[in-house]
Subunit: 511 residues, 2 copies
C-alpha cells in the first residue's frame, strides 16, 4: 500500500481531474468514476482513530435497487410476464454460473467480456453471459425437443458501463423462446407479436422492429464477392450502419478489413435497402441475389413472415432492413431488433443514442438459432429454436425518468391501515388488533414505540401513503368500536370491531 503522503498527493490530483472533467461537461459516468476513485483513495488514507474504513460502493457497473426502483421494476416485469403467460409460456431457471466450457465458443469476440470465477479448487466456472446458451444447455442436458419457455434473470458482462443510459455489467434479460420442429415462420411471427405487445403495453412511445435474415446476409456477401473468411467481420461492419453513414462503414470495410472497394460498393447497394413484402419480392427477382440458394430461402421465408405479420395485425411497425446484422455467432435464420423513437427507419443516422452497436439502443432483439442445442448434444441432434430477449434495463431507466418528471407518487408498500392510539399504555391493544387484522389478510402496521404520539403516527401514514388509520383509546375499547380515519380527508367514523375487516376491504378495494 502506498504511503500516506503519496496517497494525499494522488488524492489532490484526482480532485483536479474531477474539476477539469466537470468544467469540460464530461459525461456523468466519467465524473462518477472519478469520484469513486477519490473515495477509494480517501478510504485508504484512513482516519486518526485507527478505525478500519471501507469503500462504500457497489462493484463497478452495478447498482442497488431502492424500494421506488423496485416498485417500477415489478410493474415492468408484471407486464412482461403477463404477456409471456398470455402466449402460453412456461418458465425455468438456471444457475447464475455455468461450467466455463459451456460458454466457450458461443460469443465470438465478446468472449473476453465473460466474468470468470476464481479457481478455488474444483470446477472452472463463469457467470452466465446471456440466457440463451444456458437454455440450449438445459434442452440438450434434459433431451427436451420442444418447449415454449420464458426466463427472467440477471446476466453478466465485463463491458464498459454507461449507467446513465441503462448499460450495466449486471443486468436483467427477459427471454422468450420457442424450441421445436414446426412449420416455417409461425413461431418466428409469434416472437415478433410478443415484442409488439410488450412495447405497446409499456407505452414507451413510437417503436420500430427491424427484421433481416442471416441467410440473406450470407447470400448477399457471397454474390458480392466477399471472401468466405471475411463474412463475420464484414457482417459486424454492416451492423454499425445504424450509427454511421454508409460512407464511413465502407471506409472501415476497405481500410480496416481489407475489402476491395468495388465489393464494398456492391454491398452498399443492398444494405441501404429497407421495406416490406414488396422488397422481398423485388430481391427474389434480383439478378445477382437470386443466384444464391440460401438468399432465396431467406427471402421466401421473409415473404411468408410478412404474410403472418399481416394476419397477426402488426405489419405496420415492422420493416425488412438489409442493414440489420446482429453480432452473435449462433444465429442461423431470421434476426430482429426493436428500437424506440419516431421514424427510426428514416432518421436512424441521427439517433445515435438509440443505436449503440452493443445493443444499448435496442430494447428487444433476437432471432433463430437452429444449431446451438446441437453443439451441446453428444450426437449433435438439432433442436430448432427462435426467441427474443427484452432489454429491460433501458426500459427501467426510461420509466424512472418518466416517474421522476411526473408528479405521480409511487407507493413502495401496500399497507392498508395503521393501528394507532392517542393514549399511553395501549401497546397490548394495538398488538392484539393488528394481529387480528393480519389474520384476515389485511395489510396492517403498528409503530414500534411503546407510547407513540398520535401526530407521529399520522405523519407516518402521510409519508408512506397508508390510506386508513384505526385509532383505539379507552372509550373505543369500552364501546367495542374502532375510530376509522381516512388520512386524505381526515374524516373519522366509529366502526364496530366485528365490521372492521369488511369496512377496510370495502374502502381499499381499488388501491
Amino acid at each position: 500500500m502506498a504511503g500516506r503522503a503519496e496517497l494525499e498527493l494522488a488524492l489532490k490530483g484526482q480532485g483536479e481531474l474531477v474539476r477539469k472533467l466537470k468544467a469540460e461537461k464530461a459525461p456523468e459516468d466519467q465524473i462518477t468514476e472519478a469520484l469513486a476513485k477519490l473515495l477509494e483513495l480517501k478510504a485508504q488514507l484512513g482516519t486518526n482513530d485507527g478505525k478500519q474504513l471501507f469503500v462504500l460502493k457497489t462493484p463497478k457497473g452495478t447498482r442497488d435497487y431502492n424500494p421506488k426502483q423496485m416498485a417500477i421494476r415489478e410493474k415492468v416485469f408484471s407486464t412482461i410476464i403477463n404477456c409471456f403467460k398470455r402466449h402460453g409460456a412456461e418458465t425455468i431457471d438456471t444457475p447464475v454460473f455455468e461450467l466455463k466450457e459451456t460458454l466457450t465458443g458461443k460469443y465470438g469476440e465478446d468472449s473476453k467480456l465473460i466474468y470468470d470465477l476464481k479457481d478455488q479448487g474444483g470446477e472452472l466456472l463463469s457467470l452466465r453471459y446471456d440466457l440463451t446458451v444456458p437454455f440450449a444447455r438445459y434442452l440438450a442436458m434434459n433431451k427436451i425437443t420442444n418447449i415454449k419457455r420464458y426466463h427472467i434473470a440477471k446476466v453478466y458482462r465485463r463491458d464498459n458501463p454507461a449507467m446513465t443510459r441503462g448499460r450495466y455489467r449486471e443486468f436483467y434479460q427477459c427471454d422468450f423462446d420457442i424450441a421445436g420442429q414446426y412449420d416455417p415462420m409461425i413461431p418466428d411471427a409469434e416472437c415478433l407479436k410478443i415484442v409488439h405487445e410488450i412495447l405497446s403495453e409499456l407505452q414507451l412511445g413510437d417503436f420500430l422492429i427491424k427484421v433481416n435474415d442471416r441467410r440473406i446476409l450470407d447470400g448477399m456477401f457471397e454474390v458480392c464477392g466477399v471472401p468466405a473468411d471475411k463474412f463475420r467481420i464484414i457482417c459486424s461492419a454492416v451492423d454499425k450502419m445504424d450509427k454511421m453513414p454508409w460512407e464511413e462503414v465502407k471506409k472501415e470495410m476497405v481500410a480496416e478489413k481489407g475489402l476491395s472497394p468495388d465489393v464494398a460498393d456492391k454491398i452498399g447497394e443492398y444494405v441501404q435497402l429497407s421495406g416490406a413484402t414488396e422488397l422481398a419480392d423485388e430481391l427474389l427477382q434480383d439478378d445477382k441475389l437470386s443466384q444464391s440458394k440460401v438468399a432465396l430461402e431467406g427471402l421466401a421465408d421473409m415473404k411468408q413472415l410478412f404474410e403472418y405479420l399481416t394476419f397477426l395485425g402488426i405489419k405496420d411497425r415492422i420493416v425488412f432492413d438489409l442493414s440489420l446484422a446482429r453480432g452473435l455467432d449462433y444465429y442461423t435464420g431470421v434476426i430482429y431488433e426493436a428500437v424506440l423513437g419516431p421514424n427510426q427507419a428514416i432518421t436512424r443516422m441521427e439517433q445515435n443514442e438509440h443505436c449503440e452497436p452493443t445493443g444499448v439502443g435496442s430494447v428487444a432483439a433476437g432471432g433463430r438459432y437452429d444449431g446451438l442445442v446441437g453443439m451441446f448434444d453428444p450426437k449433435g441432434r438439432k433442436v430448432p429454436c427462435v426467441g427474443v430477449s427484452i432489454g429491460i434495463e433501458r426500459i427501467f431507466s426510461m420509466m424512472e425518468q418518466k416517474m421522476e418528471t411526473s408528479d405521480q407518487k409511487i407507493r413502495t408498500t401496500e399497507t392498508q391501515i395503521l393501528v394507532a392510539t392517542a393514549q399511553k399504555q395501549l401497546l397490548e391493544e394495538r398488538m392484539k388488533l393488528v394481529a387480528e387484522l393480519w389474520k384476515y389478510g389485511i395489510k396492517a402496521e403498528i409503530t414500534y414505540k411503546k407510547n407513540p404520539k398520535l401526530l407521529n403516527q399520522l405523519q407516518y401514514c402521510e409519508e408512506t401513503g397508508i390510506p386508513l388509520v384505526a385509532i383505539i383509546g379507552e372509550q373505543e375499547l369500552k364501546d367495542g368500536v374502532v375510530k376509522l380515519r381516512v388520512v386524505s380527508t381526515r374524516e373519522e367514523v366509529d366502526v364496530a370491531r366485528e365490521n372492521l375487516v369488511e369496512e377496510i376491504k370495502k374502502r381499499t378495494y381499488t388501491s
Copy 2:
C-alpha cells in the same frame, strides 16, 4: 491431458466404483457425483468423428428448475411475499457480487466458503454469502436509519452440497429485516410473528421456534468461568446440542477446546434448560447468572418478548432454549431458529435430519445485529437491526416431495384456450382469432403447424391442462360462430364470435 488408454482405464475403475456404491446403498449424492465424474471422463475420451464433447451438467451443488419446480417455487414465494407485504415491508435488490472487502470479517470461520471472482483487472469481487451483509452495506452507503424491507435472492456458499436434503451451493434466501431505533422487543416480536405466519400458511406440519439471546449466552459463559477468548468456540460447541447429547458436547469442550471439566459442567446445568417466561423469571433470580449485567438485560428482554408473543397470539410455538447458539459473528441480542417436526423440544436428539449445525434443518433463523451497519459507517454510527431469513430450499424440497406423492397435477402454464381447426388451410383464420383473444387479455395458443390434425391439437390440451378449445371450420366462419369445446367433458357448444371473450372468461374464472 491424459492419454486415451489411461482414461479408458480410469473410466472402467469409475464404473466399478458406481456399482459398488449402488450395492452399498450409498446416499444418492455420492452416486450422482460418481456418475458426473464418469461422464466427464467419457467426454474427455471424445468420439471418433472428432466432434467436441461437453460435460452436460450444471456446476457442483447447483441445479436447474424445470417448469414444474418453478410452479412450486412461485407458489411458495407468493405466500412469503404476501406475508412480508401484509406487514408493510418494502423490497430492495443488491448486486449478486460485492467488493471482496465488504464481506471480509463478517462470517468468522465460514469465510472460507465465500466464492471469489477471478482477478481480471479492476476490483476484487466475491459472490454474496447472505443478504444481511449487503443490506447493512446498503443502509450505511445510503445513510438510511430506518426501513422495513424484504429481499428475496440467491446467495452462494462453497459448502458440501447435500442436494437431496435441499442443501445447495446456490440457494435462495428470503429475508425480512427491521432497521431503526425503536422500543425493545417490539420489532423482534414481529419477526417471530412473521415466521409463525409463514410456516403455518405453508402447511409444513408441526414446527417450533427456539429463542435465546447472545447476551444471556455471554453472561452464562462469564459466570461459569469461560475465558473471554474462548466464548466463540464454546458457543459453537453449544450450538451442536441439537444433534449430539450433552455428554458428547462436553467432551468436545474439554478435550478439543481445552475447557476445564467443572466449567463445562456448570455450562451443562444451564444449556439443558428450556421453557418460557417462567424460565426467564427463574434465571433472573439465579444466584450466579444474576451477577452478570448483560445476562440480566437479556433475561429482562426475554420476559418482555414473551409478553408480546402472548399479545400476538403465538406463544405456544415458541420456546426459550438456552442451548440455541447461532454461529454468525454479527448477532448482538435475541437469536432464533425454527425447526420442523413434532415435539422438537423433547425429541430433538433423534431428529438428526432436521438439525444440521450449518442450518439445513432450520427452516428459518435470525436475530438482532445492532453493530453490523456501524462496521460500514465511516463514523461508526450504529443502526439497530433485527431480522429473519426463511430457508426456502428445504421447503421447496418438501413441497416437491409432497406434490410427487399426491396425485395432484401441476399445471405449468395458464393457457385458457387453444384455437384449433379440423380443416386444412385455416392458419390465417387461427392467427386472426388468437390475436383477437390476446388483445382482450385471454391466454391463448395455436399449434405451430400449417395444417395440424385435430386429434393432435386436442391431445396437446390434455397434456398441458388447457381447459377449452375454440374450433373453427368453414361452417363456423360462415355462421360467425366458434365451436367451444370443454376438454374435460368433451361438451361442445356454438358461441357467437362477439360473445367468445365473455364466455371464456366466465368458464375459466376460477382456474
